[in-house]
């Protein structure tokens, strides 16, 4: 691309651009920047996620700055943007694709996400198994509540899970 960002002298990453366009061409091409996604974005008010800006930056190929920033991890995946987009495109899918690239490139990933992965590998669950505290400040675990014990995932689950993670291109 004969394009350069004069403030940072960054150039579009042509390889990543092509890769992401190949998979998400329709999402990126048809966006016409009405900014409805940002107007309704749950994460914008607290965390300043600007979906429509991400769409155009990605389309132009300024992808590196996105995958190294924390902003793509603030999406709450509420999917309002997808539901309401007048062009039927999905900023959500673009953001997820950017996250996948970030993982692939071992860029900065928020710790909570890494924790979640190890949690799944260990327990098979996205959430940790919590204890319940009663009004009398009594701590009860599953055993005390007479709930069946949760088994640890099998080795097959772990290998399959890791395989999926690695095999996922975007």
């Amino acid at each position: 691309m004969s394009l350069v960002d004069l403030m940072s002298m960054a150039k579009p990453n042509e390889e990543l651009r092509k890769k992401i366009l190949q998979k998400l061409h329709e999402e990126l091409a048809y966006c016409f920047q009405c900014a409805k996604c940002t107007s309704g974005c749950t994460a914008f008010k607290l965390l300043e996620l600007v979906p429509h800006e991400i769409m155009r930056l990605t389309k132009l190929g300024f992808i590196e700055e996105l995958i190294t920033s924390e902003i793509i991890w603030t999406c709450a995946t509420c999917l309002k943007c997808v539901e309401r987009c007048p062009q039927n495109v999905s900023p959500y899918h673009v953001i997820i694709a950017l996250r996948n690239i970030a993982v692939k490139q071992e860029a900065k990933i928020p710790e909570a996400y890494l924790k979640a992965v190890s949690q799944i590998l260990e327990t098979g669950l996205a959430q940790t198994i919590e204890k319940v505290t009663t009004k009398k400040m009594e701590s009860l675990d599953r055993q005390k509540l007479h709930l069946p014990e949760i088994k640890h995932p099998t080795e097959t689950f772990r290998t399959t899970f890791l395989k999926i993670l690695e095999g996922h291109e975007l």
Binding site: M7, E26, Q33, E53
Partner: protein, 664 residues
């Protein structure tokens, strides 16, 4: 004294929201001769009109005063209303309570109500003195002059000719076709422009009802609606139109090279040439400014003369004045493309690879200078990156405030053509302000462009510079991503807007048509009479009235043709009786009226009844009823019908007199 009825319209809340209509009605009831006064929500509605008609019968009304919107809006409507009830339509007075009162004083309702009362009082005073008048009938010439042979002029001419009218189509260029003939493809269907235009051009040339006059200009127009006399100057081609077969051999031997106007200066043609590949008529023309023989005398050059087998070349041809009588005129004179050289920061004219959108059309056109291959003018190579810049000369207070209405669609189309012709690897950027895709199928076309990996950048570059590597350096602040971006482009296309023609001043004088503030020719009413000018019998078609794309131009032209048919089909038509009348006994023959009449409607005639003297005579059909003569006449010999001195003075008195005195 006559029985007068007064009707005050609410116009929804347009009037009643400011003016207390009930108080105005109460006031009107007490004015002398007023025997009924009412208000109504919408007098122009069917029940509103019926109310007045019933009152005319019930109260024996002899004059009707309607206080409503501007008479320009509904005077005709209300004249019909009273006429249907048996009253002469000129016994109606319309008082403008909307434009002249409620809209102007919406912040002062109390004072507006007082003003409304006074306006009504004035209207009643004039109404009392109104006289019944009859419309006049004049015969019309069933021939039409169409000026301009672009798509609008072609469409109007064919419609009229097919309806059986004789049409004179005058075109100043050597061929008809206009701007559309220069285009490659048309949005939003990507039809080939020549494929849909050329057959129509041929139809024009072949139509028995159309007389085509190319290389010609209208130099004088006199007369009036239904009976115009037109002088057309047919400039010499120096080639006999009947003999020339359009073989083009003469062009090949001509030693003089000049820039090709049809190709927007991107290629060279010769002093003798055929205007365009699809020219109609396909006849050569000699440019007298460049031809060696026409410049330096009889013995010089003459190569074309020797080559032409048809013996068509005639250096003796003279300009010819042609007199035409027509009933109506359609101006389809088109418009120009903005000259980007006026914006020095864009480098147009300085950098060969900065081109206008019309030049891009020529480059992309199969019959253009590159045979349809998109190549950079400077290098002759296909561009690897193209930048389109929108709103050049339009939406720019320094040049033209309006939106050109076609720039966005043209750039989308050209970007699509570039993608199709140059393949997927070429980088295409469109720097835009807003993308305006408003017509039928246009938004879908915009989506199609987005599908083709065209990069849209929200922001307009401030300048174009040349980079050391020979490319063009375009810097633009992209307002979506908030970045200052720099693009190195091989080709920059400026989306130049549609601007009023250079000769519009002359046209406006010749045809007595006004121009709007944007410079285009002015229609009689922007919404309700978009096809007519304020001069009766002269109509507008196409982009001369304002920027238009092809579908709009064609629709406008067919509309203008239909208006002409409406006007001329009966062979005669009625005109307003608002004209000046001379009392010969009072006329001193001074001739002041003749000298100031803007319509040449007064002639001084010798009269011998009471000894030899000059007497002013009004040419009825020419008189537009402006009243200039009546106010200038030193002996009050001229009476302006429907606006007599007595009527106007009564209004003035009513305006000045103390309020109480008028009330009975």
């Amino acid at each position: 004294m006559p029985n007068i009825g007064v009707y005050v319209c609410h116009c929804g809340l347009n009037i009643a929201g400011t003016v207390d209509v009930e108080r105005v009605v109460e006031y009107a009831k007490n004015l002398p001769d007023v025997i009924v006064a009412k208000h109504y929500k919408y007098i122009c509605s069917e029940p509103g009109q019926r109310m007045i008609q019933e009152d005319i019968q019930a109260y024996g009304l002899e004059r009707v005063v309607i206080a409503a919107c501007s008479p320009r809006m509904h005077e005709e409507t209300f004249r019909k209303t009273v006429a249907e009830a048996g009253l002469n339509p000129y016994l109606l007075e319309v008082v403008n309570l909307r434009e002249h009162c409620s809209w102007a004083h919406s912040d002062q309702p109390e004072k507006a109500t007082e003003k409304a009362k006074e306006l009504v009082r004035m209207g009643v005073a004039r109404a009392r003195l109104l006289e019944p008048l009859e419309k006049r009938v004049i015969s019309v010439e069933k021939k039409v002059l169409v000026v301009g042979g672009g798509i609008a002029g072609i469409e109007a001419s064919l419609d009229l000719a097919n309806a059986g009218f004789k049409v004179y189509l005058v075109e100043k260029a050597p061929s008809i076709g206009g701007r559309m003939a220069q285009l490659d493809k048309t949005f939003p269907t990507l039809d080939c422009s020549a494929c849909i235009l050329t057959p129509k051009m041929v139809d024009v040339a072949k139509h028995p009802n159309i007389k085509l006059l190319t290389n010609a200009e209208v130099t004088n127009v006199s007369g009036f609606v239904g009976n115009y006399e037109v002088t057309v100057l047919k400039k010499p081609r120096y080639v006999d139109e009947d003999k020339c077969v359009g073989c083009g051999l003469c062009t090949e031997v001509c030693p003089v090279e000049i820039p090709d106007k049809f190709n927007e200066g991107l290629s060279q043609t010769h002093a003798i040439s055929i205007y365009s590949p699809h020219a109609v008529p396909k006849v050569a023309i000699i440019n007298p400014e460049h031809c060696l023989r026409l410049k330096y005398g009889k013995e010089v050059c003459g190569k074309c003369l020797k080559t032409c087998e048809a013996k068509a070349i005639n250096f003796e041809q003279q300009p010819e004045n042609i007199q035409l009588k027509v009933g109506a005129i359609i101006l389809a004179v088109g418009a120009d493309v903005f000259d980007a050289a006026k914006i020095p920061e864009l480098g147009y004219g300085r950098f060969k690879n900065v081109i206008s959108n019309i030049q891009f059309e020529r480059i992309s056109d199969a019959s253009g200078p590159t045979g349809g291959k998109i190549l950079c003018p400077e290098t002759g190579k296909p561009p690897r990156s193209i930048v389109f810049i929108q709103c050049v000369g339009s939406r720019d207070k320094r040049f033209h405030e309006y939106c050109c209405r076609v720039g966005c669609m043209i750039s989308l189309k050209q970007a699509i053509l570039a993608r199709e012709k140059l393949g997927g690897d070429v980088e295409i950027y469109i720097c835009y302000n807003d993308i305006r895709a408003f017509g039928k199928g246009y938004e879908e076309f915009y989506r199609r462009a987005r599908d083709l990996n065209i990069n849209f950048l929200a922001g307009i570059p401030s300048e174009i510079r040349s980079a050391p590597d020979g490319s063009l350096c375009v810097t633009v602040y992209e307002k979506v991503v908030n970045k200052l971006l720099e693009i190195h482009a091989d080709l920059v296309v400026l989306s130049c807007g549609i601007v009023p023609g250079k000769d519009f001043n002359k046209i406006s004088e010749t045809f007595h048509v006004s121009r709007s503030s944007d410079g285009f020719l002015l229609e009689a009413h922007p919404k309700l009479r978009p096809l007519e000018t304020s001069t009766a019998g002269i109509f507008l078609a196409g982009a001369c009235q304002g920027p238009k794309d092809i579908p709009d131009s064609v629709a406008h032209a067919s509309g203008a043709a239909a208006k002409v048919i409406e006007l001329l089909s009966k062979g005669e038509f009625e005109i307003e009786p608002l004209k000046a009348i001379v009392n010969p006994d009072f006329c001193s023959g001074c001739g002041i009226c003749e000298s100031i009449c803007p319509f040449d409607a007064i002639e001084m005639k010798a009269e011998t009844v009471n000894g030899e003297k000059l007497v002013a005579e009004v040419i009825e059909v020419k008189c537009q009823g402006c009243g200039t003569c009546a106010s200038a006449c030193p002996t009050h010999a001229i009476k302006m019908q429907h606006y007599t001195n007595e009527q106007i003075l009564a209004q003035v008195h009513a305006a000045l007199i103390a309020k109480q005195e008028m009330v009975k």
